[in-house]
């Protein structure tokens, strides 16, 4: 019986992931084989058809089962997010809207060169120059997947080998949504508020861009989301399973990108809280053993590459490549911290919807613009990106409203918190720590590119959750209605945006 339950549980978890994997790889193989390297419009039509069908099915199901309407909506949002991510990945060549990809040659020192070294030579980089300093997990996974997919397609050209690796980013972007759904369940959020939370992340353009790019950003965001999920689970029940899984997540996450280690501060705080409790309950020994196990798993997996580079090349731990100092055209450190981080640069907001890393300096506005459009400009009629920008700005204001509302519960009305205060405090902590660390990083490295939202994609997860929780708390208030209305507008505009980008690709 127990074995059957376990088997069912694993199946329930693994089946969707397997289906997703097949969908991503299958669609990639199909489009590459049938449509070539620039499949733009047909993919968009396919996406539109899929979404319309899903909408119709959801509508019918909800009409026939009104009590399960919220479940249906949740599935629709999840499905939409996945379709958008896969669609974007399919119609965007790897060398379009890329970052630091550089030449698709094995000698190059961008992401493409890193990958090709692994695929062709089966070797890790021979130096830490430029992008070769990056942690290897994404490239290892990318190389593996690329070999399989290109083997099926029968392609050995460098472009195809590199392009295939974006399926890893796409998979990570989709799995982030699954992780977020599990986080909502873990926080015991109502279905409706889970829909709100998921919608914020599902329709976040920056997340699709990361999903269609040869870069570790998407995978890093996934691991941070998993770290969030398993920190919650570990806090609820610090079993050996949860401890080992959490350790693996952090290890693999840091092995993807060092910055995944930043939220470990929160996990460490949770460990500390539990340490005090366990000490009081005189169960310290077992607890310490778990901590040692955690360290023994996460640290070697996470930091082995750093130590390899330290020994081989003298690359210091926490190394970040230089950007050229004050002479760089990207330098924006000549403004005050206040002007960069606190005040909103409305002049910049009303100048153009697109971010300009050479001129912009205000972090909040840059986050907003790059969350929607990255650091790129698009030949899409002005009406759409500007409307999306303003709606997203209003939605961001509602997220701030949600953060303040949750803070009030914690700070001003702590007595109203129940024994499950972790469900209120943790999302808040994850949001604030991640946001503040991002702002601190952007100030420490005052260049336009440091402010790109691709480093902050995970922020969409706690932001959505806080909004969902706040709407749940203030169900009938004007703020909740405005938030829902804005979210609906944002979802529609973001979807149209994704189609538009595909059409012009």
């Amino acid at each position: 019986m127990k074995g059957n339950l376990l088997k069912n549980r694993i199946l329930r978890k693994m089946l969707p992931i397997l289906v997703l994997c097949l969908a991503i790889c299958g669609s990639y193989l199909l489009t590459s084989a049938m449509l070539g390297d620039n499949p733009g419009k047909p993919v968009v039509y396919g996406m539109a058809a899929a979404l319309v069908a899903a909408l119709a099915m959801t509508g019918v199901y909800a009409w026939k089962n009104p009590t399960k309407r919220d479940n249906a909506l949740l599935m629709l949002v999840l499905f939409s997010g996945i379709v958008l991510r896969i669609g974007y990945m399919l119609y965007t060549p790897c060398n379009v809207r890329s970052h630091d990809l550089w030449g698709i040659l094995i000698e190059e020192k961008g992401h493409a060169g890193y990958l090709l070294r692994l695929i062709v030579n089966g070797q890790l980089p021979e130096s830490y120059e430029l992008q070769l300093y990056q942690q290897p997990l994404f490239y290892l996974l990318g190389a593996g997947v690329s070999k399989v997919l290109c083997g099926i397609l029968g392609r050995t050209d460098a472009y195809a080998l590199v392009d295939a690796a974006k399926t890893v980013s796409c998979m990570a972007a989709c799995l982030t949504l699954f992780a977020m759904k599990d986080i909502c369940d873990e926080l015991h959020m109502k279905r409706r508020s889970s829909v709100i939370a998921l919608a914020v992340m599902a329709f976040l353009p920056s997340a699709w861009y990361a999903g269609g790019r040869i870069a570790p950003d998407g995978l890093a965001a996934f691991f941070i989301a998993m770290a969030f999920l398993y920190t919650l689970r570990w806090y609820r029940e610090h079993s050996w399973t949860n401890t080992i899984l959490l350790a693996l997540i952090y290890g693999l996450g840091v092995c993807t990108k060092i910055s995944v280690g930043v939220p470990a501060l929160i996990t460490a705080a949770v460990f500390l809280v539990e340490l005090v409790k366990e000490n009081k309950a005189k169960r310290l020994g077992n607890y310490v053993l778990k901590m040692l196990t955690f360290a023994a798993i996460s640290l070697p997996i996470g930091l082995w590459y750093n130590f390899r580079n330290l020994i081989l090349f003298g690359q210091e731990l926490g190394y970040v490549p230089g950007q050229g100092g004050w002479q760089s055209p990207l330098f924006c450190g000549d403004r005050s911290v206040f002007a960069r981080s606190i005040v909103l640069d409305f002049e910049n907001l009303f100048a153009t919807p697109y971010a300009n890393p050479n001129e912009d300096y205000n972090i909040p506005i840059y986050y907003l613009k790059s969350a929607l459009f990255g650091e790129f400009t698009f030949k899409v009629r002005w009406l759409l990106p500007i409307a999306l920008l303003f709606v997203a700005f209003a939605l961001s204001a509602m997220i701030v409203w949600a953060v303040v509302g949750r803070l009030r519960r914690v700070v001003w009305h702590p007595k109203k918190l129940t024994t499950n205060s972790s469900r209120v405090i943790q999302p808040l902590l994850w949001f604030l720590v991640f946001y503040v660390s991002g702002v601190a990083f952007a100030n420490a490295y005052p260049y336009g590119c440091s402010m790109d939202f691709r480093y902050m994609i995970f922020l969409g997860v706690p932001a959505g959750i806080l909004l969902g929780q706040q709407v749940e708390t203030e169900e009938t208030s004007l703020g909740s209605r405005i938030a829902i209305g804005l979210l609906l507008a944002y979802s529609i505009l973001a979807t149209i945006w994704c189609f538009s980008v595909g059409v012009i690709s």
């Binding site: 000549d334 899409v380 002005w382 009406l383 303003f390």
Partner: protein, 813 residues
């Protein structure tokens, strides 16, 4: 600028009007009374007509609109439902579309929008009366959203320069405002649909459909079960059995506190502290004072300076006397009369300032020729390549030029030289003292007379020319205390107000610059303080002698203010309006009794003396030094009138590019601080003196301003009305002025903000005292944080860049 002004005023008018409307609705009224509605109509249209650059269209349109409203008012059916009528007129008055179309200045659009406006509001009135009014009145949120759409599109398609075609373009300027406006239109449509579908009923308190009701008050519409008694509970040691309940009614007012020794001590103490801060690093007590005159007529326009031997030079530093912008021809040679011209148009700009001229030459002789008919030089410093002073061997031939070499400071911060407009006012003070033809004639002379007294006492040195302004700035502090005390009758509140005044930033900087702005600010503060005292005298029914005293002092202050700067005229207009409001208010309240008539007659004579005779005498007498210097042969009255004409024409046309100029609406958000002086000190430090407002006061003051609108219009708070009038009368004239302006011209209005913030915080329902002191402490912390930027004390440049320059437009280093 005029278009922007009209847009901003229209938006503020609409927002405040809508807010008032919502407040009225909440308490059962639907609009202000008829007099207020017509008054708002006249005021708003009048202001726009005056500001507009298209006067003919504006006048014609405003006249037509007024006519339409009058016809509407006099027409038959409003008599049955006056509340609806007033409501519709109020909505028509506050909506900004007509005002904006006037600003656009296009005939067709203006009259078209007038036509649309009339149709819309007639339809609304008919609709409310004839149809189910619940349906129509339900659409208020959509109405406001629609007006927002209209305003944004009016700006975008007008001054913004956007075109509708840009919405569907992929290149060129992004039409940001067009899209924003479109989003508001979408929101309007959604609100109409949603409201229609969900049938939200509005609460209808009595009054809207009552035919017999003309003007309701709040009390008539409020629920009768609510009493106006306030109940205070005091806890004792046995709360369950011995709770005493005290009832305080409106008749039992607490006795008025008196200004005591404690208040005097605090007032003087704060004045002393502020004084110390003002005098800290005010200016050097030395500067070259002996003058050498180079004159073509007297054949002293050429100088040959002999250094004794060939020397590698780096700079020549020239401390000019009382004539600015002098041009020299500079030559060098190893032998006399064997010159090589280095620069034939070397311009030296500023008076009483160390002007550095780069001079990387090796020579024994320097030949200077003045290209102007006269040139006054107080000192010349010659520096070698290492920065050491080289004294010429023939220095004795030109004693005035080389006799004060030890006064050269090596760093030329504000401390040792003139900054900003000191070059005009400080210089003119010197000219008044010595009977020299006065250079500066664009402001009345009294302020410069005061400056000349400081120069007389301490010499033509930075300390000397700034002394008078420092004293005036310090004298503002006791007035701030007294004003704060009169507002609240509480020592704590007065202390807080004074501390906020001390940490205002702008008054501190202006106290340390020899310009007339702080002098006029002092007199304006005195003016409004004395008028406020008069208002309290009337309210508290004090004896006529007290009223007379305060009026005379007010008149005296107004005279001093007007004789310093014509900004004093705005204060005069403001107190005139306030005076009549106080007068009419008392007559309405008490009626035209014999006692009151007598009182008015006595007041008339006092006012004639106080506000006509005394100011006229002060104004005319202030011109004596100016006449003596510039027009000794003319009569005093003629000099006054001629100068008035000159000043009027000057201020009408003075428009020039300046890096630190700021329009009036930019003052409200502290957008452009004025950098009075900046000097690099070493490699890493900077000394800068800037004029701007404490950002806490600036933004807190805006919030307080809106709160004061609420207190004035809704709560009928007299003090709030007074302070708002103080603020607006000093600000409003700048809406009409087209010349180049700067943030320091906001000083007089900003003083009102100090009291508005204080008063607003005292009106908080919960923890008023705590909030007031938190604000005060924060203000002090801001003052400390920005002290170096307003004082000129050398500070790390990276600190200024990273921390002090809060906004992109702020530049202190």
């Amino acid at each position: 600028m005029q278009t922007v002004t009209i847009f901003i005023l229209s938006a503020v008018f609409f927002i405040v009007g809508s807010w008032m409307h919502l407040l009225y609705r909440r308490d059962g009224l639907w609009s202000p009374n008829a007099l207020t509605v017509w008054g708002l109509f006249a005021l708003s249209r009048g202001v726009v007509v005056l500001i507009s650059g298209h006067k003919e269209i504006a006048v014609a349109a405003a006249f037509l609109e007024g006519l339409c409203f009058l016809v509407f008012w006099l027409a038959g059916y409003p008599r049955k439902q006056p509340q609806i009528h007033k409501l519709v007129l109020f909505l028509a008055t506050i909506q900004p579309m007509f005002l904006l179309s006037v600003a656009a200045g296009v005939d067709v659009i203006t009259f078209l929008s007038l036509g649309v406006e009339m149709l819309f509001f007639f339809a609304l009135a008919l609709g409310i009366e004839k149809l189910d009014s619940r349906r129509i009145l339900r659409f208020y949120p959509a109405y406001f959203s629609f007006v927002a759409f209209g305003m944004i599109w009016a700006w975008s398609l007008g001054p913004g320069g956007d075109r509708l075609g840009q919405l569907f373009s992929t290149t060129g300027k992004p039409p940001m405002l067009l899209v924003l406006g479109l989003l508001y239109l979408v929101v309007t449509v959604i609100l109409v649909i949603v409201t229609h579908i969900f049938h939200r009923e509005l609460n209808y308190p009595k009054g809207l459909y009552d035919a017999d009701v003309e003007d309701l008050t709040v009390e008539e519409c409020v629920d009768d079960s609510f009493t106006t008694e306030t109940v205070l509970e005091t806890e004792t040691s046995e709360p369950t059995e011995n709770v005493e309940v005290e009832k305080a009614t409106e008749t039992n007012k607490p006795t008025r506190a008196k200004f005591g020794w404690k208040d005097l001590a605090i007032m003087l103490g704060l004045t002393g502290i502020f004084g110390v801060l003002v005098f800290f690093g005010l200016g050097a007590k030395f500067a070259p004072e002996t003058t050498f005159k180079m004159s073509q007529e007297e054949k002293t326009s050429r100088l040959t300076i002999d250094l004794g031997e060939s020397t590698e030079l780096s700079e020549i530093v020239i401390f000019l006397g009382g004539e600015s912008h002098r041009t020299f021809s500079v030559s060098v040679g190893e032998k006399k009369n064997n010159w090589t011209v280095v620069d034939k148009d070397c311009v030296v700009q500023s008076v009483y300032t160390w002007n550095h001229v780069e001079f990387e030459q090796t020579a024994r002789f320097i030949y200077l020729v003045s290209r102007n008919s006269t040139c006054l030089i107080n000192e010349i410093i010659i520096l070698d390549k290492d920065g050491n002073v080289v004294t010429p061997v023939n220095a004795e031939d030109f004693p005035e030029l080389f006799d004060e070499q030890e006064k050269y400071p090596h760093d030329t911060t504000y401390y040792y030289r003139m900054m900003f407009d000191e070059v005009y006012h400080g210089r003119t003070g010197y000219e008044f003292l010595h009977g020299i033809h006065a250079y500066e004639n664009t402001h009345p002379p009294l302020g410069k007379v005061f400056i000349s007294w400081g120069i007389k006492a301490f010499g033509m040195t930075p300390f000397g020319w700034r002394f008078a302004c420092a004293i005036c700035g310090i004298l503002m502090i006791p007035y701030a205390y007294m004003f704060g005390w009169k507002l609240s009758r509480k020592t704590g509140v007065a202390t807080a107000a004074t501390l906020i005044m001390c940490t205002m930033f702008m008054n501190y900087t202006l106290s340390r610059i020899a310009t007339v702005d702080i002098i006029v600010a002092l007199f304006v503060l005195m003016t409004f303080y004395y008028m406020f005292s008069f208002m309290l005298d009337v309210r508290e029914k004090k004896s006529f002698w007290w009223q007379m005293l305060h009026l005379v002092l007010c008149g005296f202050s107004v005279g001093l203010a007007m004789a310093t700067k014509w900004t004093g005229v705005y204060a005069a207009a403001g107190i005139c309006a306030l005076f009549f409001i106080i007068l009419i208010g008392r007559l309405i309240k008490e009626g035209l009794t014999k006692k009151n008539v007598l009182w008015v007659v006595k007041l008339f004579f006092v006012c004639v003396v106080s506000f006509l005779v005394i100011p006229a005498i002060i104004y005319v007498l202030s011109y004596i030094p100016f006449k003596r210097c510039n027009f000794p042969d003319q009569t005093l009255i003629q000099v006054v009138l001629d100068n008035a004409e000159l000043m009027l024409s000057y201020h009408k046309v003075t428009i020039f590019e300046h890096a630190y100029s700021a329009e009036w609406y930019e003052w409200l958000i502290d957008r452009m601080p004025l950098l009075d002086a900046i000097t690099n000190v070493g490699m890493t430090k900077v000394s800068s003196v800037s004029t701007f407002l404490n950002p806490l006061l600036c933004f807190g003051g805006l919030v307080a301003l809106f709160h004061h609108f609420y207190l004035w219009f809704y709560k009928k708070d007299t003090e709030a009305a007074y302070l708002t009038m103080f603020y607006l009368t000093m600000l409003a004239p700048w809406w009409f002025i087209v010349r180049t302006v700067f943030i320091y011209q906001y000083m007089c209005s900003a003083m009102a903000l100090v009291f508005m913030v204080t008063y607003s915080l005292t009106k908080c329902k919960k923890h008023a005292n705590r909030k007031l002191w938190i604000f005060t402490i924060l203000s002090i912390l801001f003052f400390i944080g920005f002290f170096a930027c307003i004082n000129g004390y050398p500070i790390s440049r990276s600190f200024v860049n990273d921390v002090s320059e809060l906004f992109e437009s702020w530049g202190f280093a």
